[in-house]
Structure formats: structure tokens, C-alpha cells
Point group: C2
Chain length 481, copies 2
């Protein structure tokens, strides 16, 4: 939702304003003023608060912030103070702010805001924006909201909510400016002047026929540089990118990056223009994907509100720890097989984690490289063999160098050339195992049509841990004892 | 560089076209036709090739692709075939394609392309685009290129190259459309009609005075919806975001995301308008940052061409393995201290990797959460204590549950309640250590003004490995032996 008037007085350095508010809230310690909202809102309590000069000043500061910056303030505060700031923000901005906060903070707010306030906040939003909030809203709020919308928006909301989260349909908005092909550019210019403002990120006007089929697009640039006497159909171009509602959002994002787009039309199966995707949605998506990848690598299922309760954090994190416990247990049992060998030569116990650890690091490097390359499309099933050969060569090089270094270290510590040789051999073999598994695991996941980014890392660590212990202790048992 | 005419005949599903070319190249196996280019180009060879019908057809396919898609084809091919495709692409598109390929592939191409071809390719580009290529170009090519540019572009190139890679100055372009404040919108519209086309991603026209100071901005939207009789100064607005040349690119990207911008003006220290940043550059930056983070987590210094030589890959990966070798060695020495205990109770050797491993996983979860929260600004030095308390609670919960599970497992395996209790206690203590280190390590890096994302993960693993071995073996030595 654009708001040019408000933008007029916006300062370029918002970070400072945000930090200032957060710092002043912590200094003044207003937390004593805050009453838990679990029992519903108490309007008298907020009115009382507003009489206090420091709270009044705070409200003034918040009013001057862009909704995205208010969201930052909310994210940086513990629950009590977060709810205080929420109360102080003008009600008409509530919806936009709910859109801007992180998922975790949005959930925490929704849990504490009374239903009627939520309905009022969401009513001001566009259908596609409500659809973004919908999964987090309680059912009764969603039902009330639905009833309060005009018929057209209700249809749009229903449409937007019917798509998978990772589909273009879930990304698109309905802010279309359309014209017919047989009018002059002069007419288009006059038509646009009747708008108070154009939808944000409008860089092209869509040309449609009576059946709302997309005929072409009229970029604002072409509208501006061409003779106004010309007609739309002479000046319009084929869209660089046409999206279908059920295309993958991730693919649409890559196309936006490749072709440097600001917006793209979305069509339904019959070729009817139903919406558009804009680059700001794409930018949010790319950022969110990058963060999800990072969180997933650490085994966090979703972004975690840093002020979430210990119990909620535990729920977010337990799966990963449980999986790792299982793989660690398997590795532990491999060691168990060789307990007699360790009893005889206890140096093995001290050296074995090194072999396993370096194998895991090296395998993860291989996997990360392949997963990234597969994501941009430069790895396919066709070149698997070539990749495997290269990775085996790299691991041979690593095995020679690091295995040699470690062999030397083992000799210096335990004065046994035999032990040193076993160490070098085990390192080389485990690095080779890491290379093979590092190529095969993601390639197999690709072949099965699954995302190689998910689970590859756990699997490779399990393989190189158990494999490393087995190779090292096995070699030692055969050659040293 | 925009090229509307070419875009006219572009197909919406480019991925298929790319995959088709790559597949057909592999099927036909043209690699025998490819001559190594180390000795310079042989134009006769290309002419010969073009007589062959399959190569002619390939060239036709390539001509129909967007430069970004040709880049994808190049990235998906091994060196020989990559160079063949490069030769087949029309020379006037060489520059744009060089811009689009990944860093690793660009380096491989530049190493094999003769200097004069590189100069010719880069000449067609804008100054800011040449600046992007410059770090990869050989010095003589850069010098030739410099001489071939008109004076104005030479100045722009010098300016663009003078900034750090992570500064706004390195991100900006010079494609500015500017007007004076005292003309009518009608005059602006007439002025724009004199352009053949506007620079890509132009969503606003900058309003400057005689000294080129930025007075305001005229969004195309406002130009279109307002009465043409009005003057620019009545309609112009304050820019949502003004950037300085040495602002951090990352901060600019966050502002683009928060305020949903398409372009933003860049000023020098005197307030003179010198360039603009566009959302397509921001999108590339955000994607690249996400990938860098992921690569860094696996200890890869940069994106790796999957077809790079084993030696190049080794260079990209060795630092991380060396660091991990050192930390693994330290952990190994901790185990060494307790060799006598392990000799007496060999079960310790099998159980100790579990304690260390789960501690590392848990610590990495804490760190990842804090690093992400710090990146968006919701963690600051002020709330460290609160965070620490929460993480300790989470780790207590984890210790109780997973420590209990593991204690039970230890009992079932070794039928010793004492060993089971030591296992549970060690798990709880190591998870607490992981929580404390998981908060303190990134907070300390933040306090020192360093990026907490770099190195935190290595450090925490080192702490939980050595700590885990020490705690578990220490407790066992005291209570079991």
C-alpha cells in the first residue's frame, strides 16, 4: 500500500530512529506500565498511559516511522514492551505493520491482540496482503474478515489463499492497470490522470481484450517516449516473462533476477490476466529463502523470535537434535565394535575423532558446492560422473596433504611409524568416502526429484562419522594389533 | 543494457531452451571439434565449424537466448564445450554475457579469451558494468579498455572502481534522467519523447539545480497522474531513500526491501547527484549474500565452478580444513589427558563422541538464531543478559530430555547406573556450555564490531568438542574410577 504523503517526511536514516526508540524504552523501563493482554484489551489503561509525557513522546516518534521500521522496533523488544508499542501505534497502520514483522513476532502479537482489533487491522489491507496474514489468523477472525470484505476482494482472497505457499499465485497481487489495444497513447495518458496514484511498482500497463486475455504489455517507458498519436497495439510489446498461477515462486524469482524485471503478468490456464508479481515480493522471497537455507543448515525449522519462551524454542529445535542423536548413536556403536582394539591401544581413542571430523568437513564442502550449482542449474544428472572424478581427485590431494600432516603428528605423539601410516591411510580413505558420498547423496536426491539441500548435510556427517571410525579402527585392528 | 526489440521475440520458458542446448551438446559430443584456446583464437577454425549444419543450428539457438540464459548454458558446460559456445555467440553480445556468468566461470573464460576480444567485448558496456568486470580483467586489457573510452565514461569508470566492493558506489550506475524544478510536466513529457528509450528500471526522474544538487524526485507515477500544466517543483517529492557513495551496500539493500523501492539516488559528500542504485542490482546482491553465507558456513571461500580443476578446488577449500584440523587436534589432546581412564573403562571411548556432537549441534543452533536476529537488528548488546537466561533454560530442558535418553541408552548398553548418571550429567553440562558459548561468542564478536557470522561456528564447535570430552571424561574419572 503506497502512501506518498507520509513518505514525504521520511528521513533517510531510519536505523538511527529505530535504535533510539528501542534504547529509550529500555532506559526508561516502561515495563512496569505494561499489563498482560491475555485477558483482552483494556482501553482505559492505554488512555492513562497516553497522559504520561514520555509515552506521548514515544507515540510521536512511532508516528514518524515507516511501518517497516515500526516492525523493527517490535522485533527488538521483549513481549511486554512489544505490546505497549503495539498499543501506541495508530490503529489504521496496524495491518501494514503486521505484514512487515517477522513470522515469529507476528504470531506473538496475534496471540495477544483481541479478535475485533485483528479484524479492523486486516480490513485495511489488499486481498493479497490478507492472504499473506491468513495462515496466522485465528479461524473466527478470518471468518469475520471474510464477511466484512466487498465481493470482488472476497473472490481475490479466496483465489490467493487457494495456492501453495511456494506458488506464483501466492506471490501475486491484484493491482492491475489495463487498457485496450485500439486506443491512442494520448487516451491512455488521459486515463491515467484520473487515478489518484498508480499501484506501487507499476512499470507496465497490461493490454487485454474483451475476454481479459493478455495481448501484450505497454511499459511506461514506451508510453513516455512514443508519439501520443500512436495506438497502443503499435507500441505494445510481448511481455518478457509471463507467469502462470501455479508456476513455482522460486522459478519466477530467478527469472526476475535474470531479466531485471520490475513486474510480470500472471495468467490463468485459459490465458486470462489474473494478477501480477512485483519485484518487491521477489526481493522478500529471495531474502527469506537465503535465511531459511541458513536456518535449515543449523536444524532450525523456522525463524525464531529471540524472545520466544524456552519451551517454544525447544519445539523449534528438538527434531534436529534428535536426528543427530541417532546418527551419533550409530557412530558410537561402530566404536563399540572395536572396544577391544581401543583397550589394547588407547591412542586410537584420541586420534579417531580427527579422522571422522575432517571427513565430515570435506564432505560438507562437496555437498554445498553441488547443491549451490544444482540450484542455479549448472549441475544436472548428465554430468555426475565428471563431478565424481573431480571430487575424488580433490580428496586424493587432501588425503595426501592432511593425511600426511596427521601421520606426522601421530608419529610425534606416539612414536610409532605404523600408527602414523594407519592414520594417513585412514584419512585418505575417509576423504575419498566423503567425496563419493558428497557427490552421490545430493545427486540421488536430485534423481528422486527431491531438494538436495534438505538432509544432505546430516546424511554425509552420519556416513563420514561412522565410516571414519570404522576405517580407522578397522585398519588399526588389522595392521597394529 | 535494455534491448526491447530483442525482448520482443523472447519465449517465457527459457529454462527449457537452456536445458535443450546443453543436452544436445552432450548428445552430439562436439568436444572433439574443440581446440584449446591457450594459444590464441583461430578464426578459421570457427568459420570451419560454422559450415557444419549442427553447429549452425546451435548458433541459431544461442542467438535466440537472452544473455542471462547464454550464461546459464556456459555455466553448465565443461571448459572445452564452454569455449565452443562462447565462440558461437555473436561478438556484440560478449560483454553482456561476461557480466551475467558466475565469477568462477567468468575467470575461466577470461583466462582463455585473447586480449583484443576482451577489449571489444567490454567496450560495449556502461562504465558501471565495466567496473564490475574490472577486477577479473588482465591489466593490459584494462589499460586498452580505458584508452578506448570517451572522457566522461572514463571518469565514471575511475569513480566506480574507486569504491570498496561492499559500498553503494560500487553498486550504482550512471543512467540518470534529470530535470529542473521550474519546468512544467508537459515540458518533461516532451523532453522524454526525445529519448529512444529510458534507462532500465527508471521509475523516477531526479530534480536537480544548476549545481547538480538533488532537490527532489519526480516519480513517473506522479508525472502520469498529475495535470501537465503543473510545474515539477509542485509535484516532486522528497526521495524515500537518499544514499551516499560510501554507504554500505548491505544497508542500502535492506532499505530497498523495507521501503519497496525500484531505484534510489546516490549523492556525493557535497550533496551532488552522482548516480543511482536500482533494484536489479539489489536483488543480485541479496542472492549473492545468501549464497556467500551458505558457502562460508561450509568453509568455501567463494563460489566454485563445478568444472574447476582439482587443484583450484583444493585452494578454495584448504583453509577451512586446516582450521578444523587444528581444533580437532586440540580436542584429541583433551582425550589424550584421559587415556588412562579410557584404558580402564573403554565404554567411555564409544560414548564420548555423542556428548561432544550434540553439544556442537545445539551451540550452532543458538549461534545461528542470534546471528540472524543480529542481522535484522533485533539483537543488540543491550539484551544479551536476557538472551543468555533464555538459552540456558532451553539447554536445561534439552539436557534433561536428551541427557535422560542417553543415560538410559548407556545403562542398556553397559548395565551401569553410575555410567548412565555420568552420561546424563555430562550432556546437561555440555549443553549448558554450548548455550553460554553460543550467546557469548557472537555477542563478543558484535561488541568488537566484527561480523558474528564469520568464525562463530568453528569456535563453538571447538569449545563444545574439547569441552564435551573434558566434561564427560573428567566426570567419569572422578566418579567411576
Amino acid at each position: 500500500m503506497s502512501d506518498n504523503v507520509q513518505r514525504l517526511d521520511k528521513r533517510p536514516r531510519q536505523e538511527d530512529a529505530v535504535q533510539e526508540i528501542v534504547a529509550s524504552l529500555r532506559e526508561r523501563d516502561l515495563s512496569g506500565l505494561v499489563v498482560r493482554h491475555d485477558l483482552g484489551r483494556t482501553p482505559e489503561f492505554v488512555a492513562d498511559l497516553l497522559d504520561r509525557p514520555e509515552v506521548h513522546a514515544l507515540r510521536g516518534q512511532l508516528d514518524r516511522l515507516h511501518p517497516a521500521d515500526v516492525a523493527l522496533v517490535l522485533e527488538a523488544l521483549p513481549l511486554d514492551e512489544r505490546l505497549l508499542v503495539w498499543e501506541l501505534v495508530r490503529a489504521e497502520r496496524d495491518g501494514e505493520i503486521l505484514l512487515e514483522v517477522s513470522d515469529a513476532v507476528r504470531e506473538s502479537l496475534i496471540r495477544h491482540i483481541p479478535s475485533e482489533e485483528l479484524v479492523a487491522a486486516a480490513e485495511n489491507l489488499d486481498a493479497d496482503e490478507i492472504a499473506d496474514l491468513a495462515p496466522d489468523l485465528p479461524e473466527d477472525v478470518l471468518a469475520d474478515l471474510f464477511r466484512s470484505l466487498p465481493v470482488e476482494e472476497r473472490e481475490q482472497l479466496r483465489a490467493a489463499m487457494s495456492f501453495e505457499e511456494d506458488a506464483v499465485g501466492a506471490l501475486m497481487d491484484f493491482d492491475l492497470v489495463t487498457v485496450r489495444p485500439d486506443v491512442s497513447l494520448e487516451t491512455v495518458l488521459r486515463y491515467l490522470r484520473r487515478f489518484d496514484e498508480l499501484p506501487d511498482q507499476t512499470d507496465q500497463i497490461f493490454v487485454i481484450d474483451r475476454a481479459e486475455s493478455l495481448l501484450g504489455t505497454l511499459p511506461l517507458h514506451r508510453l513516455l517516449v512514443n508519439d501520443p498519436e500512436r495506438e497502443v497495439h503499435e507500441v505494445m510489446v510481448e511481455p518478457v516473462l509471463k507467469l502462470m498461477q501455479d508456476d513455482k515462486a522460486e522459478d519466477a524469482a530467478k527469472a526476475f533476477e535474470r531479466y531485471d524485471l520490475v513486474s510480470a503478468p500472471v495468467l490463468d490456464a485459459q490465458g486470462k490476466l489474473v494478477g501480477r508479481v512485483t519485484v518487491n515480493e521477489v526481493l522478500d522471497l529471495v531474502r527469506a529463502e537465503g535465511e531459511e537455507d541458513l536456518l535449515a543448515q543449523a536444524g532450525l525449522r523456522e525463524e525464531e523470535d529471540v524472545f520466544a519462551s524456552a519451551w517454544r524454542s525447544f519445539q523449534n529445535r528438538w527434531t534436529w537434535l534428535a536426528i543427530n542423536l541417532v546418527t551419533a548413536f550409530v557412530a558410537s556403536r561402530v566404536i563399540g565394535i572395536f572396544e577391544h582394539s581401543i583397550e589394547k591401544l588407547v591412542a586410537l581413542a584420541a586420534l579417531m575423532p580427527i579422522v571422522a571430523g575432517i571427513g565430515g568437513n570435506s564432505g560438507n564442502q562437496t555437498i554445498t558446492m553441488i547443491v549451490r550449482a544444482a540450484a542455479v542449474g549448472s549441475v544436472s544428472l548428465a554430468n555426475g560422473e565428471q563431478l565424481l572424478m573431480k571430487e575424488i581427485k580433490v580428496s586424493a590431494l587432501n588425503g595426501l596433504i592432511w593425511g600426511g600432516v596427521l601421520g606426522l603428528v601421530a608419529y610425534l605423539l606416539y612414536s610409532s611409524w605404523a600408527l602414523a601410516l594407519v592414520m594417513t591411510a585412514a584419512m585418505s580413505l575417509n576423504l575419498t568416502l566423503a567425496a563419493i558420498a558428497g557427490v552421490m547423496v545430493p545427486m540421488t536426491l536430485l534423481r528422486l526429484g527431491r531438494d538436495p539441500a534438505l538432509g544432505s548435510s546430516v546424511l554425509i556427517t552420519a556416513i563420514t562419522d561412522s565410516g571414519g571410525f570404522f576405517i580407522f579402527l578397522g585398519l588399526a585392528t588389522v595392521f597394529l594389533l
